[in-house]
Structures are given as structure tokens and as C-alpha cells.
Amino acid sequence: MAELPPVESSPRHRSVYPRILASRLRSQLAYPGSFALDVVAQIIGQAIELLGILVVFTQVRSLGGFSSTEVVLMYGLAATAFGLAILCVEQIEKLPEYVRTGQFDVMLLRPLSTLAQLLTADLALKRLGRVGTGLAVLGWSLTTLQLDWTPVRALVAATAPLVGAVILAALFVAANTVSFWLIDGQEAANSVTYGSNFATSYPITVYGPWLRRLMCFVLPGAFVAYFPALALLGRPDPLGLPDALRYSPPLVAALTVALTTLIWRAGVRHYQGTGS
């Protein structure tokens, strides 16, 4: 191996992903009108879901034991997390296309992580519309609720959308990895991705016990909005689940990411084992 030239590393090249993303950005902003329209569509799409919640509250005083503003808080947490997650990992939905066209081979031929290449292959900047809607609703509910602010709650409020985004992003990637095995498995993956946006917006108390268990322990949606909301509201869990759970999302996020990494690796190995 001594004959091989050393692989040089110069500072200007250490940041290849930002450069790739910057090039994606330039190509999107080449059509500013269409980009603006996309962002507006995302804002409206996310706001319509809020409207759904408000319509329910014209008929009932509380939902699963929570007031309208409290549910809107959960919605705000869920919407921001979903927006951030889909902003970062939307490209994973292109996996079936990359596998089918053999373009995934090209990623295997570059000295970079395949997952990182796939995720940076484009930038779903229009999803900022969703993040914006989520943040606005979150801000409104946090000020309206007149919470008893403590340093811990402030920390939860600041980190919950990010932690939730990590959980959801890992979940979306894991669900879409199925495309390595099933070329038409996208629909199942989509139901996880887009179903989670809806499901995490409501307190898990509205769901039946099996769905609740699924969201707590299998697809950890409850850790995106429900448990952080309990921490912020400082109220006991109507389900009587341990208090420790409301501070556990960072741990759950780490576990989800670790598990997703393993699933992705297994998927790539399967691809290398079967070919396209």
C-alpha cells in the first residue's frame, strides 16, 4: 500500500455537503416565482390541518382530556418537527427511482456515505413554509397558555421541535429503506411519513390502547409532541405513564437514529447483494 499517493485533505474541501447543498439551492432559486408558490402551498397545506383541529373544538370542549389551546400546542410542536424533518430528508422518497434507474450505483462509486449523498441530492426548501406555520402556531400557543416557565421547560420548548424532527426524520428514512427490498414499497413508507404528521398532532389519549402502544414503543410518534407538551404544561399524564417519559425524547431520538443507521446499512448490503 506504500505506493499509493496519500489522500490529501485541504480545508477548502472538508465541507463537501454544504457545497452540494448550495448548488441545489442555486438551481431551485433559478425559478423564484415557482419557488414562492411552492412555499405558499406548504403554508396553506399545514394550516388546513390546524383548521381541522379547530373545527373539532367547535363541537367539543376537550379532546382526550386536553383543551383546545393545549392541543394546538401539540399541533405546533408536531408541525414544526414534521416541517424540519421533511425539509432535511424528503429526498429519501426518491430512493426507489435511484434504485430503479441504477443511479444508486453512481452513489456507491463516490467516496461518500450513500445516505448523506441521497439526502443532499436535493433540498426541499419549500418545506420552510411548513416550519414557518408550525413555529407561528407554537409561539402563539406558548404565549397564550401562560405557562409556569422554568429553565427546564424553556429548554424543552427550545429543543422539542428539533428532537422531534430527528425522531421523525429517522423514522421516514427507516420506512423508505423498505424500497431496497420492495421496489413498490413506497406507499407503505408514505403512510408512515404523512400519517405521522397527522397522528402526532393529537394527544395520544384520543387513540385506542393499541395505537397508543404503537406510537409509544414502535413508531415513537408520542415523543414528538405529546410528551414534550406534558412537560411544558406541567400536568400529570391522563394515562398515568411515568413522568420520566416526558423528558426522554432526546434518548428516544438517539435510539431511533442508531436503529435507522442499522436498517440503512442492511438495505445497502441487500442492494449490493441483489443488484438493480
Binding site: M1, E3, L4, P5, V7, E8, S9, S10, R12, H13, R14, S15, V16, R19, I20, S23, S27, T101, G102, Q103, D105, V106, L108, L109, R110, P111, L112, R269, Q272, G273, T274, G275
Partner: protein, 319 residues
């Protein structure tokens, strides 16, 4: 150091539906070595196992059994290290960013491979000059012609000074001038001795221009692994001279070296198959002395002809 070394490299695929599965062998116990600076043509009919072999050599596909070392590395387990030392061009798959100007795709390749700025500039300038790419460097890749894009693909694969350049059907679909330019460039790059070439092709002129050594593979097996000159002397099929005449004349029989004459278009076009014993220029002169020529063309024996000749000569299983 040996650039490519394989030992009984073997690959099977499972094909068919869930109900009717069967195992198909794509590559069967391929053992070969390629030394630095070599230029190897990897030939065979469609489905012979060329692409599967290349995928196993580049870490895209895991072998079913056997092993491979490329630049001393295990292609699958050391995929990323290997990617820094080889360049790969798949004629059908682009490694460029379709919506970026060509030069920006090159910049990203430089960044991905951490090529130091000075070396990057030097390498790029050289490729731009040799491949005459200056007029379309700022053009988005999606607007390039196939020939322009292929020049870009080859450049991108060479920017990080790989030790091995693998080309899968690099000239497919290109017009004659583009093919010739690409061949000239690759032969210049290879002649300097720092890049080993491995290319698959259906185009015999590619091989004649670029390769010193030829590996013919069919149905997953290596049929021949030899110097091109040896191979040509042994197996090259007859070439054919196709002449277009200004007026119909009877079949041009009795010319030296011609083994078969077929007459088309009522004698206005005649196809003369001739052996290596005579060269094309002599034959054209001989025809011109007997008939009014309008146009001539020479048909080279195809890879398929070559493989067929191999089968007829080698003691191999019936097809």
C-alpha cells in the same frame, strides 16, 4: 502493485417471480490480473457478464463467491477508499449534476475527492484543452449533446488522478468524430502510464485503438485472455469492402484475397469479403481498375463475429 486481481470471482442472481424462481449464473469463476499501465478491452455479447464483473470490481455488487482486490483493496468492504483511487464511467448513467453547468459539476467532483486546488486546476485545464470543452463549460449538463456529456463524464472520472479508469460502453451512441476524439484522449492518458484502463465495448475500433490486451467473456466465462495482436492473427474475421458503382456491372469475381462476393441493387452495390492476405487499399485499387466507383465502405468484423469465431475454434460447449 497489481491493479486488479480476482480469484474465481463468481456471481449468481435469482430471477423470476416468487412462484418460479431460478438461479442464473452471470459470472462464473473469473480469474484475472491486470498490471499497472495496462489497457484491457473487456469484450463479449450482451448479457455475457461484463457489467456484472465491473460492478463487483468497483464495490457496487457483492460476489457470490471468490474474491477480488482492486488497488489492493476489497471493493465492497473498502468501497470508499477504493472510490478515491478509481474512476468509473458508465455510458448509460451520469455522474454529473444535470442541472448544473458542467464546470460546477467538476468543482463538486474536486471537492468530493479532496483534490488540492493547484492539482485540480492543472488536471482540469489539461482535460478541457485535450477534449476541447471550453465552448460548453458553462452550459448546464442537461443541455449538452451526448458527445459533450461523455467528454464531461470522462473528465469527472479523471480529476482525482485515479490509478484505474473503468469505462463501461464509453462510446455507445456517439457519432464517429466524437468517438475518435474520446479514443484519442484515452489513449494519450493511458500512454503516460499512470492510469490503467479497463473498458467494455461493442465497438471493435475502440479496442484496436486503445487496448493492448483483450479479455473475451461469454456466458460468464473467460474465453480468451490474450494480447490483441495475437488474438487478431488467430481469430479476426474477414473484412468486407462494400462498393457503390455508378452503373450496374456483373459480379466482381476473381479479385485477389476476395473469398465471397454478394451483389445488391442489381449490381450497383457489391459486397466483397476479403481476407487478411490483402489490404483494403490494394483491393480498392483493383476494383477501381475494373468498375466505375461512386463510393466505398469497409465493414469491420464485429465483436459478435469474433466471439463466434472463438467458439468455432476453441473446444467449448455447444451453444
Amino acid at each position: 502493485m497489481t491493479i486488479i486481481h480476482t480469484d474465481r470471482l463468481h456471481r449468481e442472481f435469482t430471477v423470476g417471480t416468487r412462484l418460479r424462481r431460478r438461479r442464473v449464473t452471470a459470472v462464473a469463476d473469473v480469474t484475472l490480473t491486470v498490471e499497472p499501465g495496462d489497457a484491457v478491452g473487456f469484450l463479449g455479447p450482451n448479457g455475457a457478464g461484463k457489467s456484472t464483473t465491473i460492478k463487483m470490481l468497483t464495490g457496487v455488487l457483492v460476489p457470490t463467491s471468490g474474491w477480488a482486490r482492486v488497488c489492493g483493496l476489497d471493493p465492497v468492504r473498502q468501497r470508499r477508499e477504493l472510490a478515491r483511487r478509481i474512476g468509473v464511467v458508465f455510458g448509460q448513467r451520469s455522474q454529473l449534476w444535470w442541472d448544473l453547468p458542467l464546470v460546477e459539476s467538476f468543482d463538486l467532483h474536486g471537492a468530493i475527492h479532496r483534490v488540492p486546488s493547484a492539482r485540480f486546476r492543472e488536471r482540469l485545464d489539461e482535460c478541457v484543452q485535450l477534449l476541447d470543452m471550453a465552448p460548453f463549460l458553462a452550459t448546464p449538463v442537461r443541455q449538452l449533446s451526448l458527445g459533450q456529456r461523455m467528454r464531461g463524464e470522462v473528465t469527472a472520472a479523471l480529476l482525482h488522478s485515479p490509478r484505474l479508469l473503468v469505462l463501461d460502453e464509453p462510446t455507445i451512441g456517439l457519432d464517429l468524430a466524437s468517438k475518435e476524439r474520446l479514443r484519442g484522449f484515452l489513449s494519450t492518458v493511458n500512454a503516460r502510464g499512470d492510469v490503467t484502463l479497463l473498458l467494455t465495448t461493442h465497438d471493435l475500433p475502440d479496442v484496436e485503438r486503445l487496448c493492448r490486451r483483450v479479455i473475451v467473456i461469454d456466458r460468464g466465462r473467460v474465453l480468451v485472455d490474450d494480447e490483441l495482436s495475437t488474438l487478431r492473427a488467430r481469430f479476426a474475421g474477414n473484412r468486407a469492402l462494400v462498393v457503390e458503382l455508378t452503373e450496374p456491372i456483373p459480379p466482381l469475381l476473381g479479385l485477389p484475397g476476395v473469398v465471397d462476393v454478394s451483389v445488391q441493387a442489381q449490381g450497383l452495390r457489391q459486397r466483397l469479403e476479403f481476407t487478411q492476405a490483402v489490404n483494403a487499399a490494394e483491393l480498392i485499387a483493383a476494383v477501381a481498375a475494373r468498375a466505375p466507383l461512386r463510393d466505398v465502405a469497409i465493414a469491420e468484423p464485429s465483436i459478435e463475429d469474433l466471439v463466434r469465431a472463438l467458439y468455432a475454434t476453441e473446444d467449448s460447449p455447444a451453444r
